[in-house]
Assembly symmetry: C2
Homo-oligomer: 578 residues x 2
C-alpha cells in the first residue's frame, strides 16, 4: 500500500515540478494543520529546495478506535531527502514537534540541518530518548534575532508570546518575496518568564515588505483579546489566598508557564510542591535546566514525604486535567495513587481548557472529585487558564501591523480558518489575496498572485497504533467500528470430505454480541440453521462451493440475528474439511 | 441474572419496608436523573402505596459501545405492581418519557392510572405506535389546576415554562406534608404559545406550607437568568431579515417552541416551510393537532416542491443540529439528500446547544457546511437557543418563593446538584435540611427530618441495545471495548486425536488488528509458534489438557504480538480434534 502511494505521488510531483520549473514560483505545501487542530507541518519549496516548518501530530477522532496519534503523510518527501535544506521548529508543543520521531528516519540524510530554540530543542531531544533505532539527531540552537541561510531561504527567528516560553515566529526571505509564519501566538503585555511582544520588530518586518502572512487561527472565533498570563496568575493567587487545605493543580505537562505560576505561588504562600506524572516531571526538569522554570531547590518534595507537612503547606501539581484515564489526577480521584487521597478541605484546580471531545470525561472527573467533598475550580468558573492563542482583536492587529500582500490563515478547523479570513477582509486585505487553503494543496505564489494548483500531494491521515505507523488503514478501522458496535460471532463447522455433511455440532465463539450463557436457545437455533445450510448445499451434488456456503451462513445467520436482536455482529464462518 | 437481581432486591425491600412500617415516614426513591442528565424517574412511597413521577431515558456514555439508550432499573417495582397508585408525567421530553415503552409491560396492571398533559399524552401515544406487544395504554389528560387523588397522595398540576409547551410541575399533598417537584422549568416572562409563570400560584403553594422542594438543577452552574424565548425569536428574526437565500434551520424535534418560532418567522417573511426528519414531522403533526404549533395550511410544502419557489421563499426545518450521522442535516451536507443540496447563499441555523460529547461531531458538521460556501449561525455566535432550564437567579427565586423546609436538587450531573445545593444555602435553607441524593438511595422523610437509609435499591444502568433490554452487561461491553481497541485474532487448530499433533496448517481469522495481506511474515511466524505450543504439550505424554494449551496460546501469542506491534488483540483459540 505504501509503495503504491509513493508511486502515485511520484507521478504527480514530476508533473508539478515540471509545470513550475524555472518560473520563479514559490510553492507552499501544507501537509497538516489546515482544517484541523494539530499535526502542523508545512513545506516551502523553491525549485528543488525544500524547507520544512514544524512536524506535529494530533489526537485521533472518536471513530478512530485504538489509534494513538495521527501524523502527517510525508510521502511527498520520499526520494527528495537530499533537497531538504532544513527543518525549523517554532516551539515545543506536540502539535508542532510530536510527529518528528515517527518521520525522522524517513527524511534523514547526513548533514540534515535542524533548528530550534533552546527549550524546544531540549524537549525534542528528551523525547527522542523514548524512541530506539533513530538516526543521530543534531539540533542547532537559535534565538530571537538569529538568521540562518538555508538554500534559497533566509530564516530570521523572532520571539512570540504563547503559553510555552521560547516560542519563535519566522520571517523568511525567499527569492519571490518575504513570508511570515507567526507560529502559535498571542500578544501578552505581561507574560511569564518572558518579554512582551516586540512590536517594533514586527513593524520593522512590515517596512521590509511582507508578501505573505501565515497566521495562527486557533483563536479566530473568539472575540476580543486573549487573557494575559498575569491575569491568570492573579486568579490562581485568589485560590491560594483562600485555601487552608492542600491544593491539587492539574494542567498539561506542556504548559510550562502554568507550571511556573503554580510553583511561584506555592513559594509565595509557603507551600512545598509535589510534582506527579512522567511528562510533567520531564518538562519541569528540562525547563529548570534551561532556566525557563525557576524555583528554590527545597520547594520540590517527593510524594511520599507528603505526611511530613501540614495540608496548608502542600501543593500537588499533576497531569490529568482532561480526565485522561491513566493520568495522575484520575489515579488520585479513583483512590489508586500510592500516597495521595482526596479529602474534605482539598482544592482541586483544573487549569486547562477542555479539549473538544473530552467534555464528558472532564464532567465525570469533576463529579467524582465533588462527591469526595473536595472543592473544584475550573476555567469555566474563573479565568485560570488562557488558551495561548491570539483572539480576534489581536489577529486583526497583527494583520494591520504586517500589511501583507497575501494572507493565508493557518492552524485550525475550517471554521477557524474561515473566521480568520473574514477578519483579514475586515482590516483591508483584498478578498482575492486571501486564500483558505487545505492540507495537501500546492499553493503557488509569486509577487502578483497566489493560486492553488490543480494537483494535490497525499496528505491523508497516517495513523500510529502501537509500533505501527500507517499500517492501520480504513479496512482495519471499519472492522474495529463494526466489532465495537455489536461484537462478533465465529462459527466453526467440521465437514466430512466424503459426504460434504457436517460432523458433530458446530463450534461457536462470540464476544461483544450477547451474553452467551443466557442465550442458549439462540445458540442452539443457530447451530441447527448452520447444519441445515451446509447439508442442504452439500446434498445438492457436484463439487462443494465453500465460498457460496460461507456467504450463505453470513447472510442467513446475519438476518436471523437481526430479527431476533436487532443487532448486526460480524459473522465469521470457518469450514474445516476432514 | 435478572432473577437474581430481583431476589437480592426483595430481601432488601422486605427489610426496609419492615423498618418503616407504621412510622408514618414517606420514602422518596430516585431511580434515575440524580448525578446524570436524563433518565428521570422518581418513586414516592407511603406505606405500601407507590406514586411514579416520569419514566425517562438517557443517551449512553462514550465507552458504552453499540448501546442505544439507558433506562432506569425498575426491579424495585417487581412484585409491587399492585401497589402503584399512579404514574404522572411532567412533560413530553424523552428524558422524562423515553423509557416508558421499555418498562411499561413490567409495571402494568389492569386499572393502572396514568396522567399527562394533552401534548405530553399525544407524544407518548404516538411513540407507543413504534412498539409492538404492549399492554393497552390509557392516559388521562390533566392540565394546570387539575387535582387527582392517588392513594395517600393528592397531586395538583401547575404549569411551568420550559422549551416545550404543556409542561406541568407537581404539588403533592402527602400524609407527612406537601412536596413540590418543579419539573424542568425556567421563569419566562415572554414565552411562546404559553402564559408566563404564575407566581401567585407558587406563592399560594408556599402559604399552604411546602415540606420539601425538589427543583431542576440542569442550569445550576449557569449564572444570571435564562434567556426568554422572545429574545431568541428576536435573534432568529435578524437572520431572517438579512437572508436572501434559503434558510435551513436545524434543531431537536422535541423543541416544539423553536419549531413554532421558525414557522412563524417564515410566515412573516413569506417563506414556505419544508419539514424534514421522521421525528420532526411526527411532532409537528401532534403539536398542530393539539394546538401547540400553529401555521397556515399553505405554509408547509413537500421537499420535492422546493424548485417551485425562489430561494428567498424557502425555509427547511430539519433534525441534525448535533451532527447525528443519520439525521437530515447530515444527509444534506453529505450530498445524500434526494432533493436538497447546500449552496452559496444558504444560511444554516444550528438552533440547539451542543450536548456534551457531541462537540467534535458538531465542529466537523460546521466545517463541512462552511466548505460549501454556506453561512452557519450557531448558539455560540448569538442567542438562538435557550436551554430551557432556570439559571442561578431563577433557582434562588424559586426557593425564596416556596420557602421549603427541606430541599433536594434533582435533574443533573453531581456538579449541578452540588451547585444547586450551594444556592439553596445562600438563600437561607439550613445546610442540614439540604440533601444531595443519588440514584437508588431511599430517602426517608418526616416533618422533622430528612435522611438517607442505609440500604439502597438497584439503580444501575439498564442498557437497551436493539431489541435487548438489559441483556448487554459489563462482560459484553468490556469485550466490545477490547475488540474496538485492537481487534481480534482467531486461531483454529485441527489436532489428530491419536497423536495429539497438529494436522495441516492452523487457520487464522483476524479483524481490526493489522492489515493481513501486508503481514504475511507475522502470520507465518504465528502459525509456527502455534504448532510448537500444541506439539510440545501433546508430546509430553499423558492426557492432553486442552484448557492449558489454549491458555498457552493466548499468553504466548499475545506476548508475541505485543512485542511485534504493541497491540493486544483479543486472541481466541479453537482446537478441533479429529
Amino acid at each position: 500500500m505504501y509503495t503504491k502511494k509513493i508511486q502515485q505521488h511520484s507521478a504527480r510531483t514530476q508533473f508539478s515540478t515540471h509545470s513550475t520549473t524555472g518560473t520563479g514560483n514559490l510553492k507552499l505545501i501544507p501537509l497538516g494543520g489546515l482544517g484541523e487542530v494539530g499535526r502542523n507541518m508545512m513545506l516551502l519549496e523553491y525549485n528543488e529546495a525544500i524547507l520544512i516548518i514544524d512536524v506535529g501530530f494530533r489526537m485521533p477522532e472518536e471513530d478512530m478506535l485504538g489509534i494513538d496519534f495521527i501524523v502527517p503523510n510525508i510521502s511527498y518527501l520520499k526520494g527528495k531527502q537530499k533537497n531538504i535544506v532544513g527543518i525549523v521548529f517554532t516551539h515545543g508543543h506536540y502539535d508542532h514537534i510530536g510527529a518528528f520521531p515517527y518521520v525522522f528516519k524517513d527524511i534523514w540524510t547526513p548533514g540534515l540541518q535542524i533548528f530550534a530554540s533552546p527549550l524546544t530543542r531540549g524537549i525534542i531531544l528528551k523525547r527522542q530518548e523514548d524512541f530506539s533505532g533513530q538516526p543521530p539527531l543534531k539540533i542547532t540552537q537559535v534565538k530571537d534575532g538569529s538568521r540562518v541561510k538555508l538554500g534559497p531561504f533566509q530564516v530570521e527567528f523572532f520571539r512570540q508570546n504563547h503559553n510555552i516560553p521560547d516560542n519563535l515566529g519566522l520571517f523568511i526571505e525567499t527569492p519571490v518575496g518575504n513570508i511570515i509564519n507567526t507560529s502559535d501566538f498571542k500578544f501578552d503585555p505581561t507574560p511569564v518568564n518572558d518579554l512582551p511582544t516586540n512590536f517594533q520588530k514586527l513593524e520593522g518586518f512590515a517596512r521590509r515588505k511582507v508578501m505573505l502572512l501565515m497566521s495562527d487561527s486557533t483563536g479566530a472565533e473568539q472575540e476580543n483579546h486573549s487573557l494575559s498570563e498575569k491575569t491568570i496568575e492573579k486568579n490562581l493567587e485568589e485560590i491560594f489566598q483562600h485555601s487552608s487545605g492542600r491544593i491539587i493543580a492539574a494542567t498539561f505537562a506542556s504548559l510550562i508557564n502554568r507550571i511556573q505560576q503554580i510553583i511561584s505561588l506555592s513559594e509565595k504562600y509557603k507551600r512545598k510542591v509535589i510534582i506527579e506524572g512522567y511528562s510533567m516531571k520531564n518538562n519541569v526538569e528540562i525547563g529548570n535546566l534551561l532556566g525557563f522554570i525557576k524555583f528554590k531547590k527545597e520547594t520540590i518534595i517527593k510524594a511520599k514525604e507528603i505526611d511530613n507537612y501540614p495540608d496548608s503547606r502542600i501543593t500537588i501539581m499533576c497531569t490529568g486535567a482532561q480526565g485522561e484515564g491513566s493520568a495522575v489526577l484520575m489515579r488520585i480521584t479513583q483512590k489508586e495513587h500510592p500516597f495521595i487521597r482526596l479529602k474534605k478541605g482539598d482544592s482541586v484546580i483544573l487549569s486547562s481548557s477542555v479539549i473538544p471531545g473530552n467534555e464528558r470525561t472532564v464532567q465525570i472527573l469533576k463529579d467524582d472529585i465533588l462527591r469526595q467533598g473536595t472543592k473544584v475550580f475550573h476555567y469555566k468558573m474563573m479565568d485560570i487558564h488562557a488558551g495561548g492563542h491570539a483572539q480576534q482583536e489581536e489577529l486583526k492587529q497583527m494583520i494591520r501591523i504586517i500589511k501583507p500582500t497575501f494572507f493565508i490563515p493557518i492552524h485550525g478547523q475550517y471554521s477557524m480558518l474561515a473566521a480568520h479570513a473574514e477578519l483579514a477582509k475586515e482590516v483591508g486585505v483584498p478578498e482575492k489575496n486571501i486564500l483558505i487553503a487545505e492540507n495537501g494543496q500546492i499553493i503557488s505564489l509569486n509577487q502578483k498572485r497566489i493560486a492553488v494548483e490543480r494537483l494535490v500531494v497525499p496528505s491523508n491521515y497516517v495513523m500510529v497504533d502501537g509500533l505501527g505507523i500507517g499500517d492501520v488503514g480504513d479496512v482495519v478501522l471499519r472492522d474495529r467500528q463494526m466489532l465495537a458496535e455489536d461484537g462478533m460471532f465465529v462459527i466453526v463447522v467440521v465437514v466430512d470430505r466424503q459426504t460434504g455433511k457436517v460432523k458433530g455440532s458446530p463450534d461457536i465463539i462470540s464476544r461483544g454480541f450477547i451474553y452467551l450463557r443466557e442465550s442458549k436457545g439462540l445458540l442452539n437455533e443457530t447451530r441447527k440453521k448452520v447444519i441445515e445450510i451446509v447439508n442442504k448445499t452439500a446434498g445438492s451434488g457436484g463439487a462443494v462451493n465453500w465460498i457460496y456456503i460461507k456467504d450463505e451462513m453470513r447472510n442467513k445467520i446475519g438476518q436471523f440475528f437481526f430479527t431476533k436482536t436487532h443487532r448486526r455482529p460480524m459473522i465469521l464462518p470457518v469450514v474445516i474439511e476432514v
